[in-house]
């Protein structure tokens, strides 16, 4: 009952290669170059940066600001305006509960409460060991299969607390992921 979604970032160009720790910077540079370092490409570039690095560190933001010739404060202002961008590392695993109206009407709030109780995390936070982030979304457009939950990019429709609990346990029982991971939402 689940299918993985493609990554949220713009996919209009072919990447140089699969991102690795070593060539992430190259890929990011290539993205900026493709946009001719135009300031209006900021959001696209931030999408790419977050896709590559998992989150937008101050160093990363400073690089983007420098290369796009933008004041750092503008880059920071944009990065913090949009919910998609994260300025802190996300958990190795993410669990996103959709709180759109359709999901809400079908009990998403109770589902979230159950997950909070289960994980001991407040929505929007990451566990101390960095293994899990519990997040919410404002409608994934998957209203037809409400309530919807996305587990590591996998959409689960008609979600119920018991199933989710089992899946979460299975996920977290896997050996911890390496520190570097590629964030995807």
């Amino acid at each position: 009952m689940a299918g993985a979604l493609p990554r949220a970032a713009p996919a209009q160009e072919q990447d140089l290669a699969a991102p690795t720790v070593d060539n992430r910077q190259k890929i990011l540079q290539a993205t900026m170059r493709r946009h001719q370092y135009r300031p209006d490409a900021l959001i696209e570039v931030l999408h790419k940066a977050q896709e590559l690095y998992g989150y937008l560190s101050p160093t990363l933001l400073a690089t983007v600001a420098h290369d796009l010739h933008l004041p750092p404060s503008r880059v920071y202002g944009v990065a913090t305006f949009y919910h998609f961008f994260s300025l802190a590392p996300q958990g190795a695993h993410t669990c996103t509960v959709c709180l759109g109206t359709a999901c809400y009407v079908k009990g998403a709030a109770a589902l979230l409460a159950a997950l909070e109780a289960e994980t001991g995390l407040k929505a929007g936070s990451t566990s101390a060991d960095g293994q899990l982030s519990l997040l919410t979304a404002r409608c994934l457009g998957a209203c037809g299969i409400a309530p919807a939950v996305v587990l590591d990019g996998l959409v689960i429709g008609h979600a119920d607390a018991a199933t989710l609990r089992a899946r979460l346990h299975a996920l977290l029982a896997q050996p911890p992921l390496a520190e570097e991971h590629h964030g995807s939402r």
Binding site: M1, A2, G3, L5, P6, R7, A8, A9, P10, A11, Q12, R38, P39, D40, A41, L42, I43, E44, L46, H47, R74, G77, V78, F81, Y82, H83, F84, F85, L99, G100, T101, A102, Y104, V105, K106, A137, R138, C139, L140, G141, A142, C143, G144, I145, A146, A148, V155, I156, G157
Partner: protein, 539 residues
Amino acid sequence: MDLAELNAIAAHERASRKPIRIACCTSLGCYASGAVELQQQLTAGVAATGRAENVEVVGVGCMGFCGHGPLVRIEPEDLLFEHVRPEQAPAIIAALDGGPCDVERGDPRHPFFARQLPIVRRNGGVIDPERIEAYIAAGGYATLYRVLHDVSPAEVIDQITRSGLRGRGGAGYPTGLKWATVAKSPGERKFVVCNGDEGDPGAFMDRSILESDPHLVLEGMAIAAYAVGAHEGYLYVRGEYPLAIQRLTRAISQARRHGLSGSQIFETAFDFKVEVRVGAGAFVCGEETALIASIEGRRGQPRPRPPYPAERGLWGCPTLINNVETFANIVPIIERGADWYASIGTARSKGTKVFALTGKIRNTGLIEVPMGITLREIIEDLGGGTPDGTPVKAVQTGGPSGGCIPASLFDTPVDYESLAAAGSIMGSGGMVVMDAGTNMVEIARFYMAFCMDESCGKCVPCRVGTVQMHHLLDKLVNGQATSEDLVQLEALCQIVREMSLCGLGQSAPNPVLSTLRYFRDEYAALLNAPSAAAPQPTD
């Protein structure tokens, strides 16, 4: 690319079709429910049973019946299967021979399908959205060709004007008038922007259109660009829609490869380059001035209008902004004529509207119906009422900017003016059905929480007023509010509505006002005695 090539592609595509077609919905709802694996299993099954000569398995766009997905349809027999699991692929293949099949069957003649009038969704569930050839075979891009060669920009605008098409994003501004304004606005450089930032929670019409028929939107945009004199376009899609973005991006590169986008389209002097811009999670970017700011790479904060984007939009240039569904209507209108289009719908609301029918309703999904249909017809006939057969209490239309309409008003025809008179709006097309178990004050609080979180923070009434309204609704829901609090809530609704800078703030009070209008007793029941409202000591 010229007409001959276009026709050749269409002919080849049609010729290579096989007699039997297994269409597997791959739009988000079904996709998320395992449609991809199902499609693979079906393909493998067809090959394994040696039917590849006669049978093709095609991934198609949204069939609309999302709540029952994954959906599979077999043509030409028109057999519909619901809730299909990958392991059921052999059973479906067996059904091709009329063999026994225990897969859940759907009824394609069900009112959910029969009462619809697909215009923008005509290719949904029919063609493979990932192949431009499929779109061309369905007549795609022929209209653009005709327009570029035979129709003047003014005539295009005239057709759109006469069709009576109004913006499908919510406000219902006459599309032709908007186009004419942009066309008239002086400027070397103009832009066409497609607003795909479908932010209303509970709405997924645009996602579905983009996932199911991306070229229809691109072709509509190109026609619009031609009409208003623009050569650059942006498609702004919310980041929450990765599948739509992927298909759209693919569609654009296909169109570019075929000379249907970019320079000298159809070997004319008309250039139109279109780019996708991915939103990053901000509802307010659905507001056109905020959308512009976002495309420019800035914080998505609206600015006061006037000046309207039609005069001063992207980088100060005249900019046409329509939403996905509006652009999807263009090709059918030009193709079949303004008069045909104007014959559908009501006196002031023409054509069809796509709705996302969700919530406590049996038939969840996407429908396209002619304007003027009543809410009752949608909810009872198409939607089949609540899953457990209990009475429907209300329907919420228009998302956070809309309102709740009670069952007593379900005979209201669905058109811009009637919905507004009922205290809601057409909005982008979300319809969330609520049953007796739904607490309307809680619903109002839900929407207020949404507006509060999504307020950009620029103007004071929206930034702070939504927080205060949410606080009061919270007090109400928790039984701590007094009648004075209710008075204050209503007063705040008025202030935020009158004083806010953009549509988000101006309409944020709507869910409260409409629930107050029809369900005041639910508010009253939550009121507490004044003394109990005093702050509680800490423990």
